[in-house]
Amino acid sequence: MAEAELEVRALTARYGAVTALDTVSLRARPGEITAVLGANGAGKTTLLRAVSGLVRGSDGSVLLGGRELAGAPAERIARAGVAHVPEGRGVITELTVEENLRLGELLGTTRRKRRRVHRLDGVYEMFPALGQRRRREANSLSGGERQMLVIGRALLSEPEVLLLDEPSLGLAPRVVAQIFTLIRELVDREGLTVLLVEQNARSALSIADTGFVLNLGRVVANDSAAALAADAELRHSYLGF
């Protein structure tokens, strides 16, 4: 079972002169959803991209179960068990639904030779809409179906850590609720470590265990999800609800 803690220590990332992450430290525990909140441009996406190796040349440390990942190329980090579902979802639209899922499965196979938790059939059971469209180009999927596809694909890769960048973006509230419920169930059942980046702070905090609030690349608050949601000052200044 996945039981790896993700720890980020003093992570700093720059785009030219812009410091997008400034000595960010945080911890995400197995079996918990850790929300990362903050306004546009706060550095949330950059944080996930630095963890998964897409932003290179960042300073600081990223530890997965005590193993250093910082500086490794993205494909190695993925193989170490970090599944990053990028902002804008990361569906390869030219491939079919099943081919997208197969890519996750291939990674899962290289990661766990014997014991697999997730299978293609299981994903189709979880998301019947995908099963019906398995041979279609992923291009033909709706926003919600794409979200299902990338979550299913990430699960097939048998990750320890799931990095989700705004999974609610552009989805109807009902679909968002469905997807959040599903993520909660998965975490409870499998002990996944989830880092959930969201604009939609209210819904994110409703399923998260703990949360970090970023502003201008710095951590400005860190508490239990309930405490963050109860902090009127914080909600007003950074969370917009």
Binding site: S52, G53, L54, P73, A74, E75, A78, R79, A83, H84, P86, G90, V91, I92, T93, E94, L95, E99, R102, L103, G104, L106, L107, T110, R111, R153, S157
Partner: protein, 292 residues
């Protein structure tokens, strides 16, 4: 009627070669957004390898196999050593590097193999089949040309459709970033893509050379025709490249057969310009295919 048949058959055989060459260009374009202007020079180089072996007493087939294997190695080397530093940078840099490679390989070939015309053997007869008492412009070698191109294409289709490696290669071509996030070693896939493309290019080089004269610049015209074929097919699609190759082969054969062979290059250019003006995304592109 007789002439039409001859011109058509000749065009198909030529077209198959252009198709292979266009396919090599498309494979690299899809994966790296680079037009490999050195493709022809690379094919010329490996064809000379075959010629050296054949002239030293080896069989045609040994030369053939070594040229294809040489293409594999050369393609991989070129990507790793020459292209890797400019990949992902400004597109013009990559273009200039492939042009530089083109010039360098031609110069190197002239030094190593000589700048003179040398005849290259064909493994099968070059005399046309006889049908109903008349000889047609379709030779046993034409059968080999079309057959080997078809085999290579089926092989590529099988690779991309039915194997895990092919899926990883396609994922890398369509979205490097997502492929990386799924643990695909994208760099390795690009190297393989160049290697496979160079094999297909080398095949085209060998087939053009068969029964003809080779010299360091003998592929230059093929680069143009192969490029036109690839553009005709939309640059993105392997199937389009094949169709484009056949169309160019036929069109040029008709021009040469009915209007005069001196007009062939001009006709290729006219087709290219016409396609770019009327259907810049190729003859077969679905309208609004790439909405972003």
């Amino acid at each position: 009627m007789q002439q039409f048949l001859n011109v058509t058959l000749g065009g198909l055989a030529q077209g198959a070669i252009y198709a292979a060459f266009a396919l090599a260009l498309v494979l690299i374009w899809r994966a790296t957004r680079i037009i490999n202007f050195a493709q022809g020079a690379m094919a010329m180089f490996t064809t000379y390898l075959a010629l050296v072996l054949i002239e030293s007493g080896q069989s045609y087939w040994t030369g053939f196999a070594v040229a294809l294997a040489g293409g594999l190695v050369l393609g991989a080397l070129v990507e790793r050593v020459v292209m890797r530093p400019v990949e992902g940078g400004p597109e013009l840099n990559a273009v200039i590097v492939t042009l530089g490679l083109f010039v360098a390989l031609q110069a190197l070939a002239a030094i190593l193999f000589g700048a003179t015309f040398q005849s290259f053997p064909a493994p099968f007869g070059l005399r046309g089949f006889t049908v109903g008492g008349t000889t047609i412009a379709f030779t046993p070698f034409s059968v080999f040309v079309i057959g080997s191109v078809v085999v290579v294409m089926l092989g590529l289709v099988a690779l991309f459709r039915f194997t895990d490696l092919g899926l990883r290669m396609r994922a890398s071509a369509f979205s490097q970033e997502v492929a990386r996030l799924l643990g695909v070693r994208v760099g390795r896939m690009l190297t393989l893509g160049w290697a496979f493309a160079a094999v297909v290019g080398s095949l085209a080089g060998l087939l053009i050379a068969g029964g003809n004269l080779v010299h360091p610049a003998y592929m230059d015209a093929v680069i143009v025709y192969g490029f036109v074929a690839a553009v005709l097919g939309g640059l993105e699609s392997p199937a389009g490249a094949v169709a484009g190759g056949l169309i160019i082969g036929l069109a040029l054969s008709y021009v040469s057969g009915y209007l005069g062979s001196e007009l062939v290059t001009l006709a290729a250019l006219a087709i290219l310009v016409a396609v770019l003006l009327v259907r810049p995304h190729g003859l077969f592109s679905r309208v609004a295919e790439r909405r972003v």
